[in-house]
């Protein structure tokens, strides 16, 4: 990468860390460190919520998915606006108004200590692991693209994030998120502008090619539980997933607990309700645009440069033969694509020729990927490398650095929120609850900073192992969905007056057991439906076992945070 691009990346990293530390004033109490003394404006919280959800996986994996699969992934978010509005009138006032530091703390007030501890433990387990995969996603890609050891790229992202999160607490995280969100959107828009300016055909023709290959098929109305991305799984399963993520996951709950009032917390979530689907469509459209661009400019046969190098060294002759066929077929597809783009009226014949060449080209790519897998012994799937390779070879100097900084920003904003919430839950729900209930704020602050550093170290170690797991997007979503629906079920039970602690606890176990049984017994059922199944089972079991005497803690709240 050009030194100017590196300069932009380093300048950005330095700015985020220095400004994060500068924003740490007022965090000398646990209320300041964990919930910013409930002082942040709705737009800061709203951008923080969006930045937390938009990780590096979105920047490199989802854009790559746009290039290979088109727009249909956006269906995953169809339930999000509805979920945000529901949360605005249910859990947000409940959690913000009750003065808790963590969502799980509320469960002890409503039910009992064991329900609180189990849900908090499940959060630590799933988020601790997923935090590692969030660092791994860009870490693996940067390692291959820049030819640096994985440990270095993990450290490049992990160390600055741990520093500002540890020193500045939630306030530093939220303000860093604001800058990161702006950088991410600017980087995405920069790619769109470059694509439009450099595309050899006009936008209408580009859409014609994208449409001919199915890349503009957003909606799939088929009702099948085995297909992950359909209108119905997105709307129903997606609503449950988003209710769980934004309503019960401490990494998100902690964002809106920092808002000045319930109204501002509610408004901050509505920012996502309005902007998430358009933003996600933009991310996918970037990928679709890159796909069309590569109809006219020959892309690499293998997008992962580390695999490309290994195959050239170990199986040079076979790879050269594949490259020759690839070049020849690309030429044929390029002229067929131009004919489709310029066609007026009936284009069935031209389309058939184009699709036949496209299939041939993908066949050669599959052979190259199989060869890479044979040579390296690793999964050769290279979806996550499409956009970074495009950026580094096609974007002007400066803009490429901006995009790489944007990917790092996306990773940092998600990791910071996770580290912050992991430390908060560890300290509030376990250390203060079970180990040392009475201590000074100074003591809890020291422990919290230590916990942030330890979780950061753990995440970096996990990152090096998670790299060998398959599709990074699926991994992140799967970790969450195993527990998400069931935890949502417990919070839904909390809103049902007749439910009791034992019912909630047993319901939670039954919900997770059912999701585990479905995961292993019927693996073809899409993970989005696991959220619905988990939540429904917990509520049904919890209500069936409810109706006894009130939980001992129901009327006597445990220690509270700021109101």
């Amino acid at each position: 990468m050009h030194w100017i691009n590196w300069l932009i990346v380093v300048a950005y990293l330095a700015w985020v860390v220095v400004d994060g530390i500068r924003k740490s004033s007022g965090t000398d109490t646990i209320a300041g460190y964990f919930v910013a003394n409930k002082s942040l404006s709705w737009w800061v919280v709203g951008l923080s919520v969006m930045a937390t959800q938009l990780s590096a996986v979105t920047m490199i994996g989802t854009t790559g998915q746009g290039a290979t699969d088109g727009l249909r992934f956006v269906q995953l978010y169809f339930g999000l606006p509805l979920a945000m509005v529901i949360l605005g009138v249910t859990l947000v006032p409940l959690l913000h108004g009750s003065g808790v530091y963590t969502a799980y703390e509320y469960l002890e007030r409503r039910f009992d200590a064991k329900t609180r501890s189990l849900t908090a433990f499940l959060f630590l387990l799933s988020r601790g692991m997923s935090c590692g995969t969030i660092i791994a996603a860009p870490g693996v890609v940067f390692s291959a693209i820049f030819g640096i050891p994985l440990a270095w790229s993990v450290a490049l992202i992990g160390i600055p994030t741990v520093i500002y999160t540890m020193i500045g607490g939630v306030q530093a995280v939220a303000w860093a998120d604001v800058k990161q969100m702006v950088l991410i959107v600017v980087a995405l828009l920069a790619i769109v502008v470059v694509l439009v300016l450099q595309m050899p055909v006009n936008p209408h023709d580009a859409l014609q090619i994208a449409g001919a290959t199915g890349r503009l098929e957003t909606f799939d109305f088929s009702f099948t539980v085995n297909e992950t991305y359909t209108f119905w799984s997105g709307l129903i399963g997606g609503t449950f997933l988003m209710l769980s993520y934004f309503g019960t996951d401490q990494s998100q709950v902690q964002r809106y607990l920092t808002a000045r009032s319930v109204d501002e917390a509610r408004t901050s979530l509505l920012m996502s309700a309005y902007w998430k689907i358009p933003l996600q469509a933009l991310v996918l459209l970037v990928g679709v645009g890159v796909f069309v661009y590569y109809q006219f400019v020959q892309p690499p046969l293998l997008f992962n440069p580390a695999h490309e190098e290994a195959v050239e060294a170990e199986a040079g002759a076979a790879y050269a033969a594949l490259e020759a066929r690839y070049g020849e077929t690309f030429g044929l597809r390029e002229s067929a694509a131009m004919q489709v783009a310029e066609a007026e009226g009936d284009l069935d014949e031209k389309l058939s020729a184009f699709l036949a060449h496209e299939a041939d080209l993908q066949g050669i790519r599959s052979e190259a990927l199989a060869l890479a897998e044979e040579v390296t012994g690793e999964n050769a799937r290279d979806v996550n490398y499409i956009i970074p390779r495009f950026v580094l070879s096609e974007l002007p100097i400066g803009l490429a650095g901006l995009f790489i900084a944007g990917v790092i920003a996306a990773a940092m904003s998600s990791i910071a929120a996770e580290l912050n919430s992991l430390a908060t839950t560890s300290v509030i729900d376990f250390y203060r609850r079970w180990v040392k209930p009475e201590a000074t704020d100074a003591h809890y602050l020291t422990v919290s900073k230590g916990a942030t550093a330890l979780w950061g170290l753990f995440a970096c170690i996990v990152a090096t192992y998670a790299a060998t797991l398959g599709s990074l997007i699926e991994v992140v979503n799967r970790f969450g969905s195993f527990f998400y629906g069931s935890i949502l079920g417990v919070f839904l039970l909390a809103m049902i007056p007749r439910s009791r602690g034992t019912g909630a606890f047993l319901g939670l176990i039954a919900g997770m057991g059912t999701v585990a049984a479905v995961t292993f017994g019927a693996p073809s059922v899409s993970f989005l439906w696991h959220n619905v199944i988990g939540a429904v089972v917990v509520v049904v079991v919890g209500v069936a076992l409810g109706g006894g005497s009130p939980s001992p803690n129901a009327e006597t709240p445990a220690r509270t945070g700021p109101a």
């Binding site: 945000m84 859409l207 199915g214």
Partner: protein, 41 residues
Amino acid sequence: MTTSESTHDARASFRGTLTKVLMVQAAALALLGLLQLFYTR
């Protein structure tokens, strides 16, 4: 303000917000739908 008035206000506010959010999303989805309708073959 009585409890029932407050509940009524909350419901009206929820309906209003939901309507606005759904209208914006409907516009975004309509755009994506038009792209699919006109360009997918």
